[in-house]
Symmetry: C2
């Protein structure tokens, strides 16, 4: 095989997911992943630091997309509006093909603590990226951190709903709806609220 490998990253991701589901995460080696993708180990390590990273490329993309969306929001957008703006570009990475892969990933993550932990690290990095973008807009530290947690939770809820949907639909309407659902509940969390639990 040549040094130039078209779509090497995507091929490695697909091969890794297939092998993780077939043989288990623990029992799959980087050499096997590379072989299944028709590439070599060196190519694998040009794209991914380790075996776990191959599962979480989308999260790094999302961290950038969320921050870009917030930065591109209208200068007079409210904090609530900025949170919605985070999801504007999410469909670029949450594609129908990704939806199929995501089902495999959920299975692998649920079966392995190490993999689950890496997913949580990626989530923490998305939160840091969103927090930074909200801080740049002049929000105070606590508002920015709270807003970032809301974006993450809305993403997780939307992801669960999107995965359960029968047909391929774009992701962002799910994200906007989940965020609105959470925002409506956020007011109840205020100590001044009289909502009874």
């Amino acid at each position: 095989m040549g040094r130039w490998a078209p779509n090497a990253r995507e091929r490695l991701e697909a091969a890794a997911l297939d092998l993780f589901v077939e043989n288990g995460y623990e029992d799959t080696t980087v050499a096997q992943i590379a072989e299944r993708a028709g590439l070599n180990r060196a190519t694998f390590f040009r794209h991914f630091a380790d075996k776990r990273e191959v599962l979480f490329g989308g999260e790094d993309v999302l961290a950038g997309l969320f921050a870009d969306g917030i930065r591109a929001a209208s200068p007079d957008a409210t904090l609530a509006e900025c949170l919605h703006a985070a999801f504007v570009g999410a469909d670029a990475t949450m594609t129908p093909q990704q939806r199929v892969k995501a089902a495999q990933r959920v299975q692998v993550v649920a079966a392995n603590t190490e993999v689950h932990e890496r997913g949580l690290l990626k989530q923490a990095r998305i939160a840091a990226s969103v927090t930074a973008a909200l801080r740049e807009r002049g929000n105070d530290e606590l508002s920015a951190r709270l807003g970032a947690e809301l974006v993450i939770l809305a993403f997780r809820v939307a992801f669960e709903r999107w995965m359960k949907a029968d047909e391929d639909k774009p992701f962002s309407p799910y994200a906007q709806a989940a965020l609105s659902d959470l925002q409506a509940r956020a007011a109840q969390l205020d100590s001044r609220s009289q909502a009874r639990a």
Copy 2:
């Protein structure tokens, strides 16, 4: 050394922290930790599943304390009040001695991704525990998850402030204050809010 070792758990924790700070997390073995504590490897593994767990025993305790606090809240407590109730028993584990160890832990966690990941897993388990306790009180799924994220974020903010304080003070007032600060901001996250960012 005998089979019966008083305070074995605490001695192992203290020995591990000292060694992690002195020699680095990676370069410290379970055998060294046990030796420093005057115990053997078998005793270590009776208390901890692996080297990382020795850093996060407090988190398992907190997950139970938070849930207990919520369950013990008045039957007519609002959701906002239930979140405050989560912190009522936190001082039992956030002691002045823990405050000294916590500073060492922060240093170890910051220097090692693997350790950081385990901390995030523990945090996710605290969130699940708080979510379950809030669900038991009849809160809907989304309110419970949002409430749990607020408890976690309040804990993290309070922990940072508590660690920066010059003198030994109980933890729970920091947690209640951080939670109130976040709750006041939660209302701004509602789409109907007009707060400008």
